[in-house]
Every structure is written in structure tokens, then in C-alpha cells.
Subunit: 324 residues, 2 copies
């Protein structure tokens, strides 16, 4: 089970390989929010999201012989990119299983990172069976997107940085809002802050209609979303918190916050204007919650967990929330 020792060990393995992302703030953003907002800019992480941390942590923790055989990830998104680059920089192979209808640019990018992309037909092929066949035949190691102790430890390194950077800014008490899908980032950060910044409490942020974590935290047991699609926050539409992540979230986090797609878009527009960073909708929900939720304290820290947004979605944010 992930603990502070594992997170610190992951941080040592990531040092010099993952980027220490800045904790940004902007006076004009604070003026809009009516509170002080510090933003952990993981959109500036290698591959454009915090997922590189978890990928690096898991791959670097493998014994060299296992690593040399290669790793496998299922994803057309941020986790795939993070695993692909982390594997390539370790000099080992990565196989990414992607649906054949994934955007061509994502397939091309994953290949440019050095991964072998294997496409499967969502209608006629079983992804898990295909993955199991590949791992058996080639001796690949599956890197899960969040329910893996070393992945959680890797994401937790962002929490160690938040604690240190906030302390340097004179902040030791704050609500920390995390963009939450399966809960790997939220759990990792919560574990890190429990030890390193006990004056901070973690609250998760999710899109409306996909608030499985908020409901699970209220119920004290894992709840699932009713649907799998229907929000622009595609990066965090996970069906439920993980078996490994939920006990950590349940012990350390809550209550969960929920934002609308429009609030996520407005947060993207404000981040564009005042922080000059590019956020994807799922990476903007924590900022949206920090901006638009009632009853928050004077200082809020939030994760900006990813910036891999397609231009059309970004145009919507600019068109709706910035005057022409």
C-alpha cells in the first residue's frame, strides 16, 4: 500500500526526469475569485499532464529484467502518453492499446514518444483479453492508470512539491482541490500532505453527473457513475474510484466538489488570460471549483492536472467567456 516512504522514494526516482512544475498565482485571478488561489501547473509536466509522474514511478520501480521486456497501457489519453515517454526514456519498450477510432493525432503522438501502438476494434475485440494475450506472449507488465501503489506514489510527488512550494510562499493552511478521476492524483497528494502539510485538507473536484467520488465519500463506500460519457471533461470520466485509491480518499479527503462543464470552460478562459497556461476541461475542474464554490477558505490550492485539449474545445472556452 502506498505510504509516505513510497512517495519519497518515487520522488527520488523522478528527480531530474520529471519536471518540478511551478505553483502559479496571479493577482488578477485572485481579484476575480475573491480569494487567493495557488495553482499546481501539471499541464506543464512532460507529456502535458501529471500522468508522467505515475508512469515514471511505476516503470522505474520495475526490476531491470522486467522493464526490458516492456510495459503495456490501455489508453488513448494522458496515461498512455505518460507511460510511452517514461518507457522510452528508460530505454524500454512500451505497447499502448488504443481503440481504432482514436484521433489520428493521438496515435501519431504516442508513436513519436517511441511506443508501439496496437489498435483494436471496440465493437468486435475485447481490450482486456487482447491485453492479457500480449502480456502473456511478450512478458509485458501492465501499468494501470490509478489502481497501482507505485502509480499513486508517483502522483503523490506532486503533493510533496505542493507542500514545499506553498511553505516557501508562506502558506501552511489551505484547502487543496484536486481534479479527480480514478483518484490516483488525489490519493497521492492527500498522503503526501497528511505528512508534509497537516494544515491542509484535500477536496476532490469532478464534473456534474460524474460525481462518483463525491457520492462515494458521502456514502463511505464505492459508488459508480450512471453513464460513461456526456461531459467535455473526458480525462476524468472514470466509472468509480479505485479499490486502492478509495480507502485513502475516504480517510483523508472530502467533501467532494462538483462543477459544471460551463464552469470548467470558464476556468480555462481565466487560466488563459491570467496564468497564460492551456488547460483541458478535466484539468480545469479544480480551478473551476476554487473559483465558483461557496464556503471556501481565503487560500485555496488547486491542481491544473492536464493541458491536452483539442483546439475546438479550447475555441469554445475563448468564444463563450472572452469578449471578441
Amino acid at each position: 500500500m502506498t505510504d509516505l516512504t513510497m512517495i519519497r522514494a518515487a520522488a527520488a526516482r523522478l528527480a531530474g526526469h520529471a519536471r518540478v512544475t511551478p505553483l502559479l498565482h496571479a493577482p488578477l485571478l485572485d481579484a476575480v475569485a475573491g480569494r487567493r488561489i495557488l495553482l499546481k501547473a501539471e499541464c506543464l509536466q512532460l507529456t502535458g499532464s501529471f500522468k508522467f509522474r505515475g508512469g515514471w514511478s511505476a516503470i522505474s520501480a520495475l526490476d531491470p529484467a522486467t522493464r526490458a521486456k516492456g510495459v503495456l497501457a490501455y489508453s488513448s489519453g494522458n496515461h498512455a502518453q505518460g507511460v510511452a515517454l517514461a518507457a522510452a526514456r528508460h530505454g524500454g519498450p512500451a505497447v499502448i492499446l488504443m481503440p481504432s477510432d482514436a484521433p489520428a493525432v493521438k496515435v501519431a503522438n504516442t508513436r513519436t514518444y517511441g511506443a508501439e501502438v496496437i489498435l483494436y476494434d471496440r465493437e468486435t475485440e475485447d481490450r482486456d483479453a487482447l491485453g492479457a494475450k500480449l502480456t502473456a506472449e511478450r512478458g509485458l507488465t501492465l501499468i494501470r492508470p490509478f489502481d497501482d501503489p507505485q502509480v499513486i506514489a508517483g502522483q503523490g510527488t506532486a503533493g510533496l512539491e505542493i507542500a514545499e512550494q506553498a511553505r516557501a510562499a508562506g502558506v501552511t493552511e489551505a484547502t487543496v482541490i484536486t481534479c479527480c478521476g480514478g483518484g490516483g492524483l488525489s490519493a497521492g497528494i492527500a498522503l503526501a500532505l497528511e505528512a508534509e502539510a497537516p494544515g491542509m485538507t484535500v477536496r476532490t473536484a469532478e464534473p456534474e453527473g460524474f460525481d462518483d467520488v463525491a457520492r462515494s465519500l458521502r456514502a463511505g463506500r464505492i459508488e459508480r457513475n450512471a453513464k460513461a460519457t456526456g461531459s467535455i471533461c473526458d480525462a476524468i470520466l472514470t466509472p468509480s474510484p479505485g479499490v486502492l485509491t478509495f480507502p485513502i480518499l475516504n480517510r483523508l479527503c472530502g467533501p467532494g466538489l462538483v462543477v459544471s462543464d460551463d464552469q470548467a470552460l470558464r476556468a480555462m478562459a481565466l487560466a488563459f488570460t491570467h496564468l497564460r497556461i492551456v488547460l483541458e476541461p478535466g484539468g480545469a475542474v479544480a480551478l473551476a471549483a476554487a473559483l465558483f464554490s461557496p464556503d471556501l477558505p481565503d487560500t485555496v490550492i488547486c491542481t491544473a492536472s492536464g493541458g491536452n485539449v483539442d483546439p475546438d474545445t479550447f475555441r469554445v472556452a475563448l468564444d463563450q467567456y472572452l469578449t471578441r
Copy 2:
């Protein structure tokens, strides 16, 4: 005259106040460029450009009694914002003289930073005379945008950071390309690198038709632009290099690089996609030069000097260079 000692002293005054901006890179951007590009992301600096460094350096170097009387800047752009916030954080007044036809949002933002904005009519009033009257009446100190030794020293702190961050990344030899208007940033960085990274050489980047620095470097004397407007790179359309900056540029920099507005827009689109940062056109010319100039070495460092772009201009970059 600015020298390394002054730059180091400015860095000590800026520590904990200005942001140490990251030196970003992206494997997919390198694949597009065909070379390794490291990018000093000053768009992430407070107020969205490197100008905060120079403003802070100049204001912090004033004796307290002078500072308490206040500072004055002429500008509707990045220099005004940098001076306004630097003055406010020193607890002293700032007066910003802006043309009455400046965009309302810029006036409002400058006021939100805490400055007193005085508007003047470009047609009927003489800015310099008005400024002289204000400085005399109120005892204000004029902070020039580039031709001031302490401003150059402040911008040079970005050069100290480049040297250290590049060294940490294993890079000691590179061409360093700077976005160049009046030459404050370029001169400051060149002085810092002369001492701290002697394997690096600085080349300036400018928009086509506004290549006063490139021509001045070729001629060995200050040349002026034929026109004052006509490029989207508004932040760097200075008529000529400065009396203080040019001798430094002439000794340490060159040859100057020139890019088209379309190349600047394309660099903005690539920075959006691969680095998840927002650049303004004038802040993207160094990246454009790094991407599109012939005969560059395998490793290029460039400044991304500002990100205060209006949404319409940003939309043009997305629309022209990213497929819908």
C-alpha cells in the same frame, strides 16, 4: 553600466518575489523542429512577461524615500503591468500614463494591480511633457522600459536562470535566441551568459520589417525602423535599440534573426499544443526563429517572453495552424 555584479544583486533582490520560470521542453516539439529546443517560459512570470523582473529590479534599487514618492511609467503594455505590480508589492505608488484609446481591459488590469492610471489624448497632448510635469510636481521617478541599467540588470536575471537550468539539463553549449524590442532582455541575458555560460551565444529575433536590431548589429551602429506599426508583434515594435542596450548587444550578440508574423502565429500554435503555454506574438518570435531558421545548431534555447495576447489574435493562430 550594467554588469554581472549588478545582475547578481538584482537576482538577490528579486529572490522570493519574481518567479523562477521553468525551462520547458517537449519531445514532440523537438520532433517538429528537428532540433532540441529549451524554452524559458517568461509568459509564466508575474504579470505575464519578463518585464516584472526589470520593474522590480529598478524599484527595489531606489532609496526608500524616493520609492515612497512613487514611480512613473509610460506604456499600455507589459512594462506598465510589471511596474504597477512591482510598485504595489513594494507598498509604493505607481502612476501609469496610458493613451486614452488604450483597451479598457488594459486600463482596468493596471488599476487592479494598484496603479493610478492617467489617460492622455494622443492627438492633443504631449506624453513626455505630461510625464515631466508629473515627475516634477509629485517627485515621481521615471522607470524606462529598457534604457535603464537596473532594468537591464533585472532582465538579466532570466539569463542567470537559463545558465543554471540549462547546466542542470546537461546543456552548456547552445544558441540562445531572445525576443528583442529595445534590447533590455537581450542585453541582460547576454551579459549574464557571457559570465555564466560562455559556451552560449545570443541571437536576437525580431519581426520582418521591424529588424532595427539585426540591421544595427550588421552596421555596427544604431539603425531605426522605417515604420512604427504594421506587425502583430506589438510588444516588440520599438523604433531602435537603446543607447545603453546597443553597445552590449553589439559586443555580445548576433547575427540577428527575423521571422514573419505567420511564423510567430505558427509558433504560438505549436506552443499551445506541445508546451501548453499561451504566448503573445512578440513573445513567440524567438521560438519561431528556433523552429524555422536555417543553420541553427542542434540545441537552441529561446525566450518565450510574454503571454498577454488578446483572444482574437490567439484565435487566428489556432484557426490558421491547427486543423478543425
